[in-house]
Structures are given as C-alpha cells and as structure tokens.
C-alpha cells in the first residue's frame, strides 16, 4: 500500500519531470534548428551539455538582492510543475495522485505560478528583471481567466472536479469535439504560463531575458529546468483525457 500509493507515484512524477523537461529541451532545439537558428551538432546532447555548463558556471549576484526569495523562486516553480504533473491522468487508471479536487489544484498552480514568477523577477533588484516580472503579473491574470473557462468547461459535463471523472465523462464524446475551442485555448495558456516561444514576454529578448536577466550558473539551470518541466503538465493535461478515453 505504501509502495503503490506513496513511493511509486512520487518516483513517477520525478522521473517524468526530469525526462519530460529534457524532451522539451530537445524538441525546442530541434525546432530552432529547423527554423534556421544556429544550433549544436546533436539535438540530443545539446540540452545536457548546456545543463552541465550552467552547473559549473559562476552564479551571478546583484548588489542587494532578496537572497532567500531569489534562490527559492526557481525551486518553487519546479515544485509547482511537479504538482501539475502529479494530477495528470496518464491513463484512466494511472494517475499519480487522483485528488477529488484536482481541477482546483491545477487552477491554484496557475495562480501561484504568477506569484513565483513575480518573485523571481522582483528579488533580483534589477530594473529589467522587475519589468519582466510586472509584465507577467499583468499577463498572468488574463491567462488565469482563459484557463478558468477551459477548466470549468471540462468540469461541467463531468459533474466533478476529479480528473479521473473528467476522463470517464469523455467515454461517449471527446471534449475536443464537444468543446473545440478548449484544446487550442489551453495550449495557449500553457505556452503563456511557461512564457515559451511567441508568448515569451516575461523573459523576452527585449528585456535581456527579463526575470532571468541577472541569473546565471546553477540558479539559471533550475529556472530553465522548471520552465521546461512546467510545459509538460500544461501540454499533457488537455491531451491526456482525449486519448485516454479512446
């Protein structure tokens, strides 16, 4: 019982967290290469090499940062990604933690992500990082609003806030067909929450990488890892129920 309900789910989440983040980095590298950006010789080793390099680099510091918050923010973002993964229904029976209120949990992860990302930009005490952080607060509110409608839309036919019930409610008709707007909207929210690709406005180039502008070395590695890991549950969330029902 301890093995089934405690050790295996924890292991599953941690393994998917690390492997998923690695695959996201590989995909990102491959897409960047396909779009003609300069890239490393192998897409498979490039993220590993980048990670090892960051691990050995010196960590930058600003004059008077909020130390505890600065070190805690990337770790907390990683923890939020892990919470997100913990409620993903990998299959109708394989859900790491099948909470009765898992929809609410995912909603709170999105709200707390706003806090953590703001903390990351705020604690560096640097202008560009702070602007990036405020940008995310403004955008995060609108992301939450969209994701709210998608989440509520999923919970309505299931008459439950449990993701296994949501999967079960799609036996007859997939939500992708019942609510065609849900999937694209939710994928956009996922990109926005991890400020990835075209929605990278918090850590954007015009702010010299925004909230991460003053961060280098191991803290940068954790931040990048957490962002890639956060993309995994947000992408998996909406897709998983549709194939699991089939």
């Amino acid at each position: 019982m301890i093995l089934d309900e405690l050790i295996l789910p924890v292991l599953l989440v941690i393994v998917v967290l690390v492997v998923g983040a690695y695959l996201v980095a590989v995909l990102d590298e491959a897409i960047a290469g396909a779009l003609g950006m300069p890239r490393a010789t192998s897409v498979w080793t490039a993220p590993l090499a980048q990670g090892a390099w960051l691990l050995t680099q010196q960590a930058n510091a600003t004059e008077a940062p909020d130390w505890r918050a600065w070190r805690l923010a990337p770790a907390l973002y990683l923890a939020l990604a892990a919470i997100g993964l913990a409620v993903v229904p990998f299959s109708p029976t394989l859900i790491p933690t099948d909470l009765v209120t898992s929809v609410v949990l995912w909603g709170s992860v999105e709200a707390l992500a706003t806090v953590v990302i703001f903390l990351h930009g705020w604690s560096a005490n640097t202008l560009l990082a702070l602007i990036g952080a405020y940008r995310y607060v403004a955008l995060g509110l609108s992301y939450i609003l969209i994701s709210m409608f998608v989440l509520i839309g999923v919970a309505l036919p299931a008459e439950s806030l449990q993701f296994s019930q949501v999967v079960a409610s799609q036996e007859g008709l997939w939500n992708v067909i019942r609510q065609p707007l849900g999937l694209p909207l939710f994928l956009i929210v996922g990109l926005g929450m991890t400020f990835w690709g075209p929605l990278n406005l918090a850590d954007s180039r015009d702010l010299a990488r925004g909230t991460a502008s003053a961060v280098s070395g191991p803290p940068r590695l954790v931040w990048n890892l957490a962002r890639a890991a956060m993309l995994v549950p947000s992408a998996a969330r909406r897709r998983a129920p549709s194939w699991a029902a089939g």
Partner: protein
C-alpha cells in the same frame, strides 16, 4: 493518502531545486562589486530598482480577488450545474454582476493603467 503523496512530491521537487543550486555554489566566491552592478544596457544605477518600481500589493490583490474568487465559486458551481439547471445560471449571473461592480471600481481607481 493522496495529499501525503502530494506533500512528498512538493518537498522532493523543491528540495531538488534548492540542492541543484546549493551543491555547486557551496565553495563559489561572491562576484566582486563592479560585476554585481545591475545590467542597465550600459547605464549606471542611481537608485534601487525597488525604489523606482514599488511593489503594488493593493491593486494586485484587488484584481486577483475580482478574477480569482470568481473561479473559486465557479468550481463547486460547475459540479452541480447539470443538476440545478436554470437556477444555477441565474445564481452565477447575480454573482458575476456583483463582482463586475468591483472590477468597474478598480477600473475607476486606475488599476488597469500601465505605469
């Protein structure tokens, strides 16, 4: 049991995040002060970034309450919606009407202005 599992997942993930930072940085010397000056595209900082851009708890809280609390009520509402039907729709309509008064108030106070 699920909550306990979740607790361990949070603990391990956050611990992992802190460990990856702490282990390699244990023996690293602090960068010298010239290097620690914040990057301003070549300019020198005259004030702390915090003094120029104060954290605005009040408007942030107000906005989050207006939008997020709506969601808090919508969760249980979504569960009983099919059962209650029209009654649930009207209840949500009233609730949203009250909340939008708050949003209009926040608007009047200039919360949505990007300063």
């Amino acid at each position: 049991m699920e909550l306990l599992t979740l607790f361990f997942i949070v603990l391990i993930a956050a611990g992992l995040g802190l460990l990856i930072q702490w282990l390699p940085m244990r023996h690293q010397p602090m960068p010298p002060y010239p290097q620690r000056a914040p990057f301003l595209g070549g300019g020198l900082p005259e004030t702390h970034a915090w003094s120029r851009y104060h954290v605005r708890y009040y408007p942030m809280t107000l906005l989050l309450i207006a939008f997020e609390m709506e969601m808090m009520f919508m969760y249980p509402w979504a569960v009983v919606f099919v059962e209650q039907g029209m009654k649930a729709v009207m209840e949500m309509g009233m609730f949203l009407a009250i909340l939008s008064v708050g949003i209009v108030y926040a608007w009047r106070e200039g919360v949505f202005k990007w300063q």
